[in-house]
């Protein structure tokens, strides 16, 4: 059974429609990507799933439960952890506070993420524990955003442009971290532009254009489809 099923959703900002029958499914333990050029609706898909910009039509089910019209805090509670585009760290909370303020283990994970485990994953955060969120570098903010989402112990971790604007070494650190999370069985939905890294990391891919899926397949199929990469991803 799928962990997350998105079926034919339409989403609007005011009167302008952005998603047109968008589909997506993720099984437990899978790493799935969402790719496409800027402005095609990747962030909007995530916002719809999270209940931040609710979809007007269609179905969104998480572990069988209909979550399409739940407010975002309830979506988070059923087990979705968001690492949002632009990181959105709380600037007026310290690093440690950013991590523990919203921490929870609502689904009774047997080995829950704790502050200690997060700083073990990102040792830099331990050094910065008492710094305010707005005193961090972009890379540190990104690690903090990942750690903050992990501390809600989600069934599904969602990352929107997690490596955008980061230096190559820091990017590598983020990719390595995601690889480690995958090893532990964490289900992940990733939005990113780095096709190489995504092909190595993920099981399956969705390519979208103008709010609908135009291609889907596993990493092998994506490697074998240079025309898709060229046409929809611009590489």
């Amino acid at each position: 059974m799928s962990l997350l099923e998105v079926e034919a959703i339409d989403t609007f900002y005011g009167r302008s429609q952005v998603l047109f029958g968008m589909n997506l499914a993720i099984a437990a333990g899978e790493v799935v990507t969402l790719m496409g050029r800027n402005g095609m609706g990747k962030t909007t898909t995530i916002r719809s799933i999270m209940g931040l910009t609710p979809a007007a039509r269609g179905k969104i089910r998480f572990r069988g439960e209909d979550i399409r019209s739940l407010p975002s805090y309830r979506v988070a509670k059923v087990g979705l952890g968001l690492v949002p585009e632009g990181r959105q760290i709380f600037p007026n909370l310290s690093v440690k506070e950013n991590l523990i303020a919203t921490a929870a283990n609502r689904n009774g994970a047997s080995q829950p993420w704790t502050y200690e485990r997060v700083v073990e994953l990102f040792p830099r955060l331990a050094e910065r524990a008492n710094n305010m969120g707005n005193q961090l570098s972009g890379g540190e903010q990104q690690m903090l955003a990942v750690g903050r989402a992990l501390m809600t112990n989600p069934h599904l971790l969602i990352l929107d442009e997690a490596t955008e604007g980061l230096a190559p070494l820091i990017r590598l650190e983020i990719w390595n971290c995601l690889e480690r999370l995958k090893q532990t069985g964490q289900s992940i939905l990733v939005v990113d532009k780095n096709v190489e890294a995504l092909t190595r990391l993920a099981n399956r891919h969705y390519v979208i254009e103008k709010g609908r899926v135009v291609w889907q397949g596993d990493s092998e199929a994506l490697r074998a489809a240079p025309d898709i990469r060229h046409r929809y991803l611009g590489i």
Partner: protein, 306 residues
């Protein structure tokens, strides 16, 4: 002279702390939910009426106050759930109009329920006297108690906001409400709690000023204006800013009224000095606000991310 100065300073501190109790709730509400709530002054007034009624019932000011606080919190929560929730997504002008309507409602409500005449709150006799705050300076016991309670509340709020999970969420909510929700926190519930807390503090300020002034219709209206000045100077959403600004305004206002006439009297003739001093001292805090806004448009301690 020095004693007089110190006494006026204490008066200013006492008024400043009452202002702080009112401004604390106001600034949190404005900071987290982006809601301008003019009716906060009504919760101050209702707190005073509750205390007056409960004091009459129980015959004891402290029991009355103890009952008035939860009543004030409860009233705030009811107002929030019934009236204010619908206003969060509206613009500030709608909020001002709607909450101004609430002021009229509460003033009318008080007239019908408690009568137009106002009520006095009777203090126990041991609070009617004076304490020696230092050799040669007796000070009214009750005003001194207000200072102690005000400082204790400030300390409590500091600990709550800086050291607890709830406080972290309040600060996080002031900088990025949507993200707090997306991480699994019911921001509406959080806000209702904060609103209840703010209402209890407003009620506390009202019931403590009741015995000094009298409890009357519209008593919250003037002090609300001052509290708005306080949160603008302190930075919207900042408890620390509200504390510093409230004390500064209390002290400057009191000192201005007490000493400006004499100071101006040394250079002007007495009647001119009198009029000018009166005009100046009532303007003093607005001059301060203008100066702060020129130098720091977001106030002294703006919550980042706004």
């Amino acid at each position: 002279m020095l004693l007089l100065l110190f006494e006026q300073f204490l008066n200013g501190l006492q008024i400043g702390l009452l202002l702080f109790l009112l401004a604390a709730g106001l600034t949190l509400v404005f900071g987290i939910m982006d809601l301008v709530n003019l009716a906060h002054g009504s919760l101050y007034m209702m707190g005073a009426y509750f205390a007056a009624v409960f004091t009459q019932w129980t015959g004891n000011f402290f029991l009355g106050a103890l009952l008035a606080l939860p009543a004030g919190a409860l009233l705030g929560i009811v107002v929030e759930v019934i009236a204010l929730r619908t206003l969060y997504t509206r613009d500030h002008l709608d909020q001002v109009l709607a909450t101004f309507g609430l002021i009229l409602f509460f003033n009318e409500f008080a007239r019908v329920v408690f009568g137009a005449g106002g009520m006095a709150i009777e203090l126990p006799s041991w609070l009617e006297g004076q304490v020696m705050v230092m050799p040669g300076l007796p000070y009214p016991s009750f005003r001194f108690l207000i200072i102690v309670v005000g400082l204790a509340c400030a300390g409590f709020l500091y600990l709550l906001v800086q050291k607890t999970r709830l406080g972290m969420l309040i600060r996080a909510g002031a900088s990025n409400r949507e993200m707090v929700g997306a991480l699994g926190i019911d921001i509406k519930l959080l806000f209702t709690l904060v609103f209840g807390l703010g209402s209890a503090l407003a009620a506390l300020a009202g019931l403590m000023s009741g015995p000094i002034t009298t409890v009357q219709i519209g008593m919250g209206d003037n002090i609300l204006i001052l509290a708005l000045v306080v949160i603008v100077i302190g930075g919207i959403g900042s408890i620390r800013g509200a504390f510093i600004a409230a004390i500064a305004i209390g002290v400057i206002d009191t000192m201005g009224r007490a000493f400006l006439p004499n100071m101006l009297g040394t250079v002007l003739n007495p009647s001119d000095a009198g009029t000018l001093a009166q005009a100046l001292s009532s303007m003093l805090i607005y001059i301060l606000m203008a100066a702060v806004l020129v130098l720091r448009p977001a106030g002294l301690f703006p919550a980042p991310g706004r």
